[in-house]
Symmetry: D3
Subunit: 293 residues, 6 copies
């Protein structure tokens, strides 16, 4: 059960509007690695958690924090759109915005061409739960597998991709208000990368899970001779130079070997057998026509 | 540029058909964490790689290997469908498969109800580039960000989720041929989890990247006072028990603190200003009707 | 900014597991008209609201409540999956679940065929942010247009479709625990239908908006002669029998008329002109080949 | 069964081409609330209708009319693209369009940067069944639930959102031909908002349905004590000021009450039980490794 | 502009209900190659047509016919669901449908497990604009490119895939009413395959287009030495046995040659250059941290 | 099983960067008819092939070649983005790119407004598996039906649409390096159109399949009187002028006839029967409320 405090977690006020940057800022809001993705991922991981209480609580804490990050970004975008290009034109009664672009040919108007048209047409100068290219957010961006190590690895990824994107956005604006909010988000992503890395260590120290995930699948049942082989599928040997090709594996259970030209472990070329002619597929040889009734 | 060898990488032959398991096996083929996802992810990471050659080659090696894994799963599924339920019925001329289910009421027929109908209707008893619920594969499952540490973290995740799913599937069948192939895939996922973990260490040792990603964004520009705070957004203090709430952070650059009741860092409640009435949104007070021309 | 209380809003405990009903219950969780849809719709409507404060607060209250409804459904589904079919079999070491279905032919096993396979394979017996057919939730289900009357009409719809679906589900189970939770959700949907209808009246009484939406677009600019005509596009005249075909229109601004055979208001048949041959489309007549350089 | 008349329902001829506005105009054609959405929604509602004939016919009339609206928009867009930027350049043999943008740096060329690239590359200067951001139309935008009151509420919404978007577009152009067509669409949306509101009254007067939908679910089975409570999930009491918080509810069956700090109706914190270890999820305590066979 | 006749194009009445077959029949209604796909494809091809009038009219004729095919399938599905499993149970007051499946274990109930749950929950026993796996229809299934030969080839494909699927469905039922309707659809697909093949010949005879599409792109500008080479990318030479590997090409403009081991036409291995460090990608060598401002 | 050669199939090097054209070039990479689509289509057709070996090998050869085309396009796009707009500005320390656009108003900056923002934010100046409007690639673009004639017709279509799009793109750039690569792709599409046309002839000559597809469905079972009728669903008779309306049909099995005003073959108007009231749909007449228990 959730409650809302009216203040936002942090400032979300631009110095001046910028409809083009509003489009860009949809990415960390509704993109693959945006705040909606981490909010929904963490909440579902928490609700599905069957592990110890400290993990469930920790996950829910961050999930709840992220709802507030969605709020900050949504608010910032609505404000970046606030003094819209529509207002900026004195001769609005005579010319439309886009008409002016086509006819009047002023440079400022070219910016309109780059706006997300749905910011005006669909949302009336509000934010959208979409990414910077206009794709709707989808829950296919999330995962809650029931296995916390597998999921915490995803979470480290999400915080890394997220911090990367926000850092790039930091360089696309020089609005002090926007940069101030981004500096907050970047700092929280620093925290969250560290937090999930710490949680991974905790899981391992608690003896709940380790590499390879899932660690309680009996390794005796896997085809062990290929479990530590690097298979070189290209010309050239440069891929032999890294620690993935020799020495002990990170799981402490095997040693990497390098196979220059990997063999096929079967003579099977994948030929399929014919099936009932009523599937109407192409058979190895012609069939008589009376295939239905 | 790519070439094909006719033998598959490993055996992909079931002892007997099983249309229901064929549906299940679509998940590691065309699901969020299936082989198409890793194939496409690794290939795009490789093609977009601006880092040292050994990384690019290593990434492309695995990407190329994964094409062969897609091949094995596609072949296995086509064979699990091979002796279709259609063929099993002697009185085929008189009864349809589904008609028989409704009328004749044999238990075997009930399995048909659980089949993926597109296996027969769309693919003619072949595999599909879809998941076990029938959703088409989408490139929204992939990432190639240009930052190898961010991406390798994703890759560890993908191999963890993938091995987890295949391990679950191992328990859903007792067909020796299917289990044999799954044991190969599980072993390769063991390798690939280890490989990406090793690659992460290599990146760090090469001085190319470290936590927090991206490490060359100046930390002086982030809001540093919140960069190592755990913010407790729930009742209760159980989330204080883990190493994410105290002690040194994994990046070696800060120390975790625990904030029981996180403050709002702003008085701002997110109110928005009115905009041009020609957006036709709801304003703070009534507006006169003549808002267009 | 949001906070979480550990108790759920209401009970979410089934008497016994039911993996098939768990699949069904995904619809009100992650379907087009499910709780994620109303949660996200209301939150974005609130964040984008430029109208009076009482509306913004009211919208945010419900949006926050809905997060808790998502929580209840996610929890219920995880519990309906809890004693999975896997556990029910004593001879698990010898037979797999699905293998047993194919070979042993017991009726109970047939239920497995109807399960959502991703509940086990992907989520490890947890809930998913998807609908009952397995489609991922998408923000394309939501709207926040900036115009509160247009949006409140959507909200009444969502609560109507939602209550309809939950009522249907009520008849698909006789588990007292499940029915208890559904009776809570049905009651809240009663409240929310009423609430949005009341909010529509409030908007009208506050003089902020009325039919036709948007009411501050000057009606003098619309093609007024067709603004109250019912156009009969079919054979037969039965569509003339309703109050949509005669008498005063609900907006109080016009009177319905019935046009039995609607005219075309133009002679234009939609022919298009030829374009630059370098578009390589099919022109009205053959073109010479040298169309590029 | 359907037939086509060659004249369009109304004029759809711009004064001059405008590729940027062609992009914008995709929203009311193929967007969430565009003409394809209402066409498909109404047709399916009509085909699935089990209610009285007058409703079915009325629904099909509008559904059929909307096919003609799709036609008008598709034609208008193709004409807005007709004299493409390609044609406007005399020195076409020497410079490409985009090359000229990069090198020649004329302001007009900047418009090209804002075009929907698929209008040229995919459709050869024709319209697309997509929205203004390029997302393909999806049937997930539609609903035909079998309950006419639930669906007519959707239809009022669709006509409200649609008229809102077209009104906004009216302000984005000053082409008299485009505005003329938009004024027709706006008028029809006025009609259709009124029509669906009238149809809702008719349904209620015919005794077929009323609030709360579905009205024939026995209200005795819902958790009645929460059926008319406003639950304040935020700080502050501004949400108490509307008619949703006090007085009789619109359905005439209850009275609103305001609950300032809503209680949890359960002590249940949503903890889940452990499941079969072969799900490989994270359990409350370490498990032995031999979890498969 | 379109009009509707109340009779359907053909009978659409099953002998008895069959909820499982209703699920299957969604494929030719709302699947990739279903009637909605051809309806929308043909309508958009017609509206975008810049070629001679006879083509535009012909395309619109079929597009309009297909609306009626959607109608027939939607009606048939609603009727296959009509006497739902719910009605079949006498003891409905005591047991729910699904509860009965879990407890009572009757074979008929197993069919319920295979139903599309959305047929009942979402559509109230009506059809859906989705495919047999429950995926919503998307306009990404369609094409209207402006080039009629390219599009007519698509149309032949659509009618081939469509007839194939309906033929398969014919074998999945023995209901005489369903088979009667399918025999009509199969015959119309016979017509439409022939029709589009005839239209392709007409286009060629009219000198409007020919192979390779687009034929008015100057072949002098293509890399002609590879325009008729078969490149063998596999081991083995079996692919040399077809007429694609030798003799005159179908376009009459070249002769096929077979290249056993295709060369790389470049020494370029695709290495990329480093970019501005503020993209925060992984560079070829370590970079100093001060990359932002 | 697959192997990789480090050289690409052909040159993929632009003379100079062009971020706007990089956006355009996503269409033949990740669009509906792009290289990922043909790669995945051909690979799945090959893996699912039950026909003679020469077909399977031929299909796999092209499928493997197409992986290399994806590689070329991905590389070209990454290079077109290489000298990013970011680098072009000397005063980067003071102004951000987008900030400069808003304030400084230089024409070059307007190009930035047209870039795909995800090229920078998500991919760090790399390519994306998306189309030119930013939509993710989806396997819904592909087909492998098991019937080779149906599928080869799709393949001819794909190569036609693909060549059409690349030809259009050829006219949108004058970069010699880009045009050189496009001339290679255009030539390969010439080959592949011819190849699939030749393969269709081969199938027919081998007696494996012919028009109408599927040819082994007994034509006696189709409603033969409508199998060769052209049904005129519009006013006017212009659609009678083509060879689709008279003379022998291409399959050699029937003769076209032209039906000016097609009849309904049924009196059935599609009325549906009422269903169990617990579906809560709208019935033909009011129902008593006690519909649940």
């Amino acid at each position: 059960m959730f409650f809302r405090q009216r203040q936002m977690a942090y400032h979300a006020k631009p110095e001046k509007p910028d409809p083009l940057f509003a489009k860009m800022l949809q990415e960390p809001l509704g993109g693959q690695w945006g705040e909606i993705s981490v909010m929904m991922t963490y909440l579902f991981q928490g609700w599905n958690c069957r592990g110890p209480q400290k993990y469930k609580d920790m996950i829910m804490d961050i999930g709840t924090e992220e709802i507030g990050h969605v709020e900050m970004l949504a608010t910032m975008i609505a404000r970046l759109l606030e003094t819209s290009p529509i207002e900026q034109q004195e001769d609005m009664a005579k010319n439309s915005v886009v008409g002016a672009v086509m006819g009047g040919a002023r440079v400022e108007d070219a910016i309109v061409a780059g706006m997300n048209p749905q910011h005006y047409i669909v949302a009336g100068l509000g934010s959208r739960p979409n990414d910077s290219a206009g794709n709707p957010w989808t829950s296919a961006y999330t995962i809650a597998s029931g296995n916390l190590l597998a999921d915490f690895r995803f979470n480290v990824t999400a915080e890394s991709q997220g911090r990367l994107q926000v850092s790039r956005l930091y360089n696309m604006t020089n609005d002090p208000g926007v940069r101030d909010m981004l500096s907050f988000l970047i700092a929280r992503d620093t925290m969250h990368q560290n937090q999930w890395l710490a949680a991974i260590r905790e899981l391992e120290e608690d003896g709940l899970e380790e590499t390879p995930v899932p660690s309680n699948f009996p390794q005796s049942l896997e085809k062990s001779e290929v479990a530590y082989q690097f298979l070189n599928h290209s010309e050239g040997m440069e891929s032999q130079q890294g620690r993935w090709a020799q020495g002990p594996a990170p799981d402490g259970k095997g040693t990497f070997t390098y196979v220059d030209r990997p063999p096929a472990y079967t003579e099977d070329e994948g030929q399929l057998n014919p099936v009932d002619p009523r599937t109407y597929g192409t058979p190895p040889a012609p069939v008589p026509p009376a295939a239905a009734e």
